[in-house]
Symmetry: C2
């Protein structure tokens, strides 16, 4: 399958750490992932946006490589090392981080087909813990959520996720869309960049400063 | 070989993204790497220090996973996916980043057996470029250099590396130790943490602010 841009240009698979072109079984947290109407995953959309931000010198943000546990490596003569046995590992952190105007940004991007709420099962305990640690160090932490059926995107402060995560014991297993609309910032799909989220980051920073 | 702490306890291989326990051919930039007197590589020493900083809630800094290009994956029934063909890739960034008191930290750790200067061949063009981009976003960028034969460690501002990198055309292929002593901050090997570098980061931040 050739993935194409809206303009008909074939989509150039990002070389910056993305391994999303690799077929592998879906992890539990990814079971809600579907392909968007424009033929790109949320991850591809964000990687493309980050590449644009770097080119324009607006921010330096990368997706972290998938952690792999390597067990066996062959060293054929006169050619490069080949990994012959390895396993996917659970990451300790969120997927994206970087620097923007002196600020440390840290975020996770997830999508759902739900229409009224965002399921907490999209997130892992270690990601929530990582957000807590980064917030303690005054990092700017958020999630980018895509409601695939609605084709709506939100940048939501990590504090909202933490609030609902802690309330899970009460039986509530998702964050209502109404709450995300109230607390988060809606993002629009565009062309360059594909998903401009730094404006929402500016607003989040401003709000964070007001609360200090 | 069991790696041991100075106190005789076996060294617990870090689970946070480090793949340093994997045998693979040395990359060009690693050709100077040797094992320290205490039986730990510089990478293990820094990973251990970062784990300590996280436990103490002093900073959230991780080594990025090694980027891997995956070609073939097997899915045995009733067991997890096995990567059967994959290759090591060149990273686009430096190895370490994270957040400390609201600041974005970004660094690379390297060692040499040289006694009078630090060879520039330990660094790659993409790392230098990444430092430039992060400095432009007001990140705190540095290298941790180990002079293995002297058993001396320095935290050196990335700006010093950039200065010598740009002068390479003049034939100078290394940074003199005298210059590193003058511009950088010497670090001491300790117990908890093994290589306390945040004090030097404080000084670097202070100096950066004075220059603004």
């Amino acid at each position: 399958m050739v993935i194409k841009y809206p303009n008909g240009e074939p989509y150039r698979l990002s070389t910056d750490h993305s391994q999303s072109n690799i077929k592998r079984p879906l992890l539990a947290a990814e079971s809600d992932v579907i392909f968007g109407g424009r033929g790109m995953t949320l991850e591809q959309t964000i990687n493309d946006t980050n590449t644009y931000y770097r080119q324009q010198q607006r921010a330096v943000i990368y997706k972290k490589p998938t952690p792999i546990q390597i067990v066996k490596v062959d060293y054929p003569q006169r050619s490069k090392a080949v990994i012959r046995e390895a396993y996917f590992r659970q990451a300790s952190t969120t997927d994206y981080n970087g620097v923007y105007q002196g600020r440390y940004l840290d975020f996770e991007a997830k999508e759902t087909t739900n229409k009224k709420s965002f399921p907490l099962k999209n997130f892992h305990e270690h990601q929530v813990k990582h957000f807590q640690n980064c917030l303690h160090q005054q990092g700017i932490c958020f999630t980018i959520m895509r409601f695939a059926s609605l084709e709506r995107y939100f940048l939501t402060p990590a504090t909202l996720l933490l609030k609902y995560w802690q309330q899970q014991t009460n039986g509530r297993k998702s964050i209502p869309l109404t709450e995300i609309i109230k607390t988060g910032y809606e993002l629009q799909i565009g062309y360059q960049p594909l998903l401009d989220y730094l404006g929402a980051v500016d607003q989040l920073i401003q709000k964070t400063q007001q609360m200090d």
